[in-house]
Structure formats: C-alpha cells, structure tokens
C-alpha cells in the first residue's frame, strides 16, 4: 500500500511513476477522489432543457444519469439498479417519465426514488417481496447537484464544501465569463488514449509543453510562449487557469526566442487564415483560457473555439477524453460557422491537440517498467506553489499533486500546499 513516504520531495517536484500504473492506487482514487469531497462536471443545463430530458455521464468509473424533473430541477443519481446492480438507463440521452431497469423492470422516478416493483406481492398471494421491504430506502443513490450559469457539477460526498467555495473566486470568474450567455451544444468528440488519466490532468495544467509539442501553435502564429500570459490557481492550488492575451508579443521577439528551441519559427501562413483568426468577444483580450477543475473537468477557450472536456478514467491504463463543443444560442450563423471551422484546432484530430494523445501514450508506456523512478516538475522553479505571470512553467502540476496527496491520505508532513 502506498504511503506518504512515496514522495521523494515535499514540493511535489518529483512524482513517482508508480502513481500512474498501480491498480491498487487506481482503486483508491475511485473511492477517495471521484467518490470523495470533490465536485465533478456532469454536463450542461442546455443538454436537458425539458422535464424528463436525461443524459448519462460518469463520475470516475461510476455511471451517472442527470435529468430534469417535472418541477424543472436538475437531479442526478448513480445509474445502478438497487436490486441487482444493473445499469438502469442504457441510452446516453433521451426523454422519459421514469427510468426502468430492463432486468426485472424496477422503476425509478425522475427524482431517483423507487416507484414500482413488478410482482411486488407475488402472484395469488405467493412469492414477491416481504411486506416489510422498504421502497424508500432503495432508490438510486443521489448526487448533490450544483450549477454555475448552467454548467452542472455533482458530488457523492455529503461533506463536500459548497460548490462555489470548492471552485474559488478565480475559477468562478472564468466559468461565469465562459457561460455569460446561454450556450448551444455544437457536438461531441471522444478520444481513447492508452495512458493513465492523471497524465491528461497534468497535461492541461502544463503551459510549458504547449508551444513545443503543438508546433502548429507557433508555426502558424496562433499562440506562443512570448505572449503575455501565465497561470492562476485557486487558494488550494487544485484547479488552474492557463491564460494568454492576443496580440501581446511581436513576431520579431518570438522569432528570436524560438530560434533556440527546436521549433520551426519562420511562421508559415495558412491558405485559409480564418482557421486562426480571433474575433474578440468580450472586453478582455484573452484568446487562450484553459481552466482545469480538479479532478476531471477542463473548460477551454482557444481563440473562438469553446469546449468542456471531461476526463474519464477507464482503468489504470486508459482514459477517455470526452469533449463537448460549444457556441452561444445568440451566435449569428457566420459565428457558428467560424466556431465549426475552429473546432479543427481541438479534439482527437485537433491541429493543436492531437499530439497530446501521443505524448500521454509514450509517457505511460516508457514509465511503466520503472515504478520507482520519478518525473521532474521544476519549470518555474520548485518549492512554493503560486501563480505565475509567465508561460514557461508547470507549477500548477504540483498543485494538482498536492491536493491529490491530501485526498488519497498520502500527504507528507510539512509538504507544500
């Protein structure tokens, strides 16, 4: 069993490879993190506009449904029948008055309560359940649900702090910025990566890799580390915002800076420049905002492409990245077209994201046999975990690990937070 002694340093600048590969640790994560005092992104108000609308999602590996009940309130529960543990709702989305398990037709209401059981009192007075069977204690296990402007979060922990407190002021500000108008779902994409889920959680907090791995960013002038930008975290450093401002550097400075990196810096131009054109939509100049919410949500604005990513662990060796592409309900048709074009930037075929799939797989593959080895996380310095107003940094990874260690009960004495 892993203990606090597994950490070679108190600032999380060294992470043991074991944490990405050990199945016992993976099991503990499901219990302590995904069933623990965190708030996980479930989906969007916009996906279930009408009473009876439901969608299936995941809390770690636990199947969950969220739906709108007849009063208009959003409810969420574990999608597992109280009788035999079967998936109650098999479809991914739809509209229904109840949720009925096909196995023995146990029937649950939109509040998750157990409503009806066939042959409950048997046939001709024989068989069935005993009269003492308590229907009210055999409902679907409920989640607490919270919403930030229509972005729905859920938790299984009764002792979880209030959602807004969990997120903190800086994250709330970004979510309210992204969801400042009613959104419209443009579609979904999914990617199955043969690597541990935490490698992806780290990746989204890693500003250092962006312009080096995703050469398209620099080569075609979309985003580069010479821009004004940085990382901003919540007080506990478990979440992170990676941000950058448009038009905040010069080609000349970028060319000089990247001449030392093995990245093409002659800045090619596209035949269709709309792909990287940024139309400012608010009174800030932010053209890159990647907001990672512990443990498994990422809210992304890259230029005018908007999305929410859900990190779905699928065993210790595989993760699904499930991405919901967004626009706004009041987008004019030409803006919708622009967002559909810029959707080329992200997702499994994304011009600035496809590399992540490969990076995670090669990190997972090569680290597996070396469980006592460690990664190095020191860009922007080791030691204290704090916000940075520059981009060549991976400090927020250490914030992720600090909270991870706390939840898993392996936080060393005297460790940074």
């Amino acid at each position: 069993m892993i203990t606090a002694a597994a950490w070679p340093t108190l600032d999380y600048s060294r992470v043991p490879y074991r944490l990405y590969h050990d199945t016992e640790i993976y099991t503990r994560e499901q219990e302590r993190i995904f069933h623990g005092p965190v708030w996980s992104f479930l989906g969007l108000d916009a996906e279930i506009p009408e009473p009876g609308d439901f969608r299936a999602t995941w809390l770690g590996e636990t199947p969950v449904i969220f739906n709108r009940d007849k009063s208009g309130a959003v409810r969420a529960f574990v999608n597992r029948c109280a009788h035999r543990g079967a998936l109650v709702r098999r479809e991914l989305a739809g509209n229904a008055e109840q949720h009925i398990c096909i196995y023995h037709q146990w029937c649950y209401g939109l509040d998750g309560g157990l409503m009806a059981i066939p042959f409950r009192r048997g046939i001709r007075g024989k068989g069935g359940l005993d009269a003492s069977f308590d229907m009210s204690s055999h409902g679907l296990r409920p989640l607490r649900v919270g919403s930030i402007n229509g972005a729905l979060f859920g938790t299984l922990a009764e002792d979880a702090e209030p959602l807004e407190h969990y997120l903190g002021a800086a994250i709330l500000l970004q979510l309210r910025r992204l969801f400042d108008r009613p959104v419209r779902v443009l579609g979904y994409n999914r990617q199955r990566v043969r690597g541990n889920w935490k490698l992806y959680a780290e990746n989204t907090r890693d500003n250092y890799h962006a312009s080096l791995l995703h050469e398209f960013l620099v080569t075609f002038g979309l985003d580069r580390s010479t821009q004004v930008g940085g990382v901003k975290m919540d007080a506990r450093h478990r979440h992170n915002i990676t941000w950058a401002e448009a038009d905040s550097d010069t080609d000349e400075f970028a060319r000089q800076t990247y001449s030392g990196a093995r990245v093409r810096n002659d800045f090619l131009s596209l035949k269709e420049p709309a792909l990287v054109a940024f139309h400012q939509e608010r009174d800030d100049k932010l053209n890159l905002v990647v907001t990672s919410v512990f443990p498994s949500a990422v809210f992304v604005q890259i230029s005018n492409s908007l999305a929410v990513r859900q990190i779905r662990p699928r065993g210790v060796d595989e993760v699904e990245i499930f991405q919901t592409m967004l626009g706004y309900q009041d987008d004019p048709p030409e803006m919708t077209l622009h967002r559909l074009r810029q959707a080329n930037l992200v997702g499994p075929a994304g011009l600035v994201s496809m590399e992540d799939g490969e990076a995670i797989e090669i990190a997972h593959r090569a680290s597996r046999p070396e469980v006592d080895g460690t990664t190095v996380i020191e860009l922007g310095g080791a030691g204290v975990i704090s916000d940075r107003d520059y981009r060549v940094t991976d400090v927020p990874l250490r914030g992720f690990w600090s909270y991870y260690a706390e939840l898993l009960g392996i936080e060393p004495k005297g460790a940074v937070r």
């Binding site: 991914l92 989305a93 779902v185 443009l186 579609g187 979904y188 994409n189 999914r190 990617q191 199955r192 990566v193 043969r194 791995l213 995703h214 050469e215 398209f216 080569t219 075609f220 093409r264 090619l268 596209l270 035949k271 269709e272 792909l275 699904e320 592409m325 919708t336 077209l337 559909l340 074009r341 959707a343 080329n344 997702g347 499994p348 075929a349 011009l351 496809m354 590399e355 992540d356 799939g357 490969e358 797989e361």
Partner: protein, 152 residues
C-alpha cells in the same frame, strides 16, 4: 461492370491507396476546386449536431490540413490500410455511399482496427474524370483510438 460504375470504383480505390502510401498531394488532386471534406462522429450526425472532427469547407482548408500534417503535427508513427467496401451508387454515379475500414499498423507490426464508417460522397465530372465535391465521412468509431492525424 458498366463503365460508369468503373469510374466510381477507380476513384474510391485511388482515394484509399493514395492515403495508405502517404501521397497526400496526389490525394488532394482527387478533390474538385470547390470542395468540402468532413469527418463527423456518428453521435453528432444522429442528433443533428453540426460539429465535426475535421471540417474543411474549402480546398484551401484541406490543403492547410495536409501542410500542417507535414510541417507541424506530431502523431503516432504508423501506416494506414483502407479497406473500402462495395459502393451504393445513386444519381447517375454522382452520389455514392461506401462503407470503409481503416486499420493502423505501428512500427512493430501490430495492427488494430482504427476506424470504420461510411463515406457519403458527391462527385462532379471534370472532363473525363470524376472529382470529389463533397465528402462526408460518417465515423462509427467515434471514440477515436489515440488520435486522428492522417485522413480517413
């Protein structure tokens, strides 16, 4: 086989073979000057949602994709093998539906099924030849294994 069908078979066969041997410039030549190419996850298509994995609504965007693949993108080192099934041919051979499977093989010779789905193609006549005006790749395997770099 009549000659109309033969032109469709030839185009589809060329299409798969040129991707599989990474001749992307020649592959681009199979498209009309005004063309559209998109890879759409079945879960979006079935719900009437417009977002695609790859969405090129002009020849210029398709050319940019190929250029990015060559100049900027990094991806799993592999070879592709397209297996394109018998097409259904409609409207005097200018509309075609063909099922496909793409297998990927890595450097150590391990092959896996990467994608399966259906091509919904619209062609136009350019002199003697058919060119692709609109290709909608309806992707059944929308939980994309690893990543999608080379065209389907």
């Amino acid at each position: 086989m009549n000659s109309d069908a033969a032109a469709v078979y030839t185009l589809l066969a060329e299409y798969g073979a040129l991707i599989d041997c990474a001749k992307f410039d020649e592959w681009l030549c199979l498209f009309a000057e005004e063309c559209r190419y998109q890879i759409v996850p079945r879960e979006n298509f079935d719900r009437g949602l417009p977002a695609a994995l790859v969405f090129c609504d002009s020849r210029a965007m398709l050319e940019d994709r190929v250029r990015a693949l060559r100049e900027a993108n990094k991806y799993n080192i592999h070879t592709d093998r397209h297996v394109i099934g018998l097409p259904r041919i409609f409207k005097d051979r200018l509309a075609v539906e063909a099922p496909f499977a793409v297998y990927q093989t890595d450097q150590e010779g391990e092959t896996r099924l990467f994608a399966t789905g259906v091509y919904h193609d619209r062609f136009e006549l350019a002199g003697e030849h058919l060119k692709i005006r609109d290709k909608l790749i309806l992707l059944d395997t929308f939980a994309v294994p690893s990543l999608l770099a080379t065209p389907l």
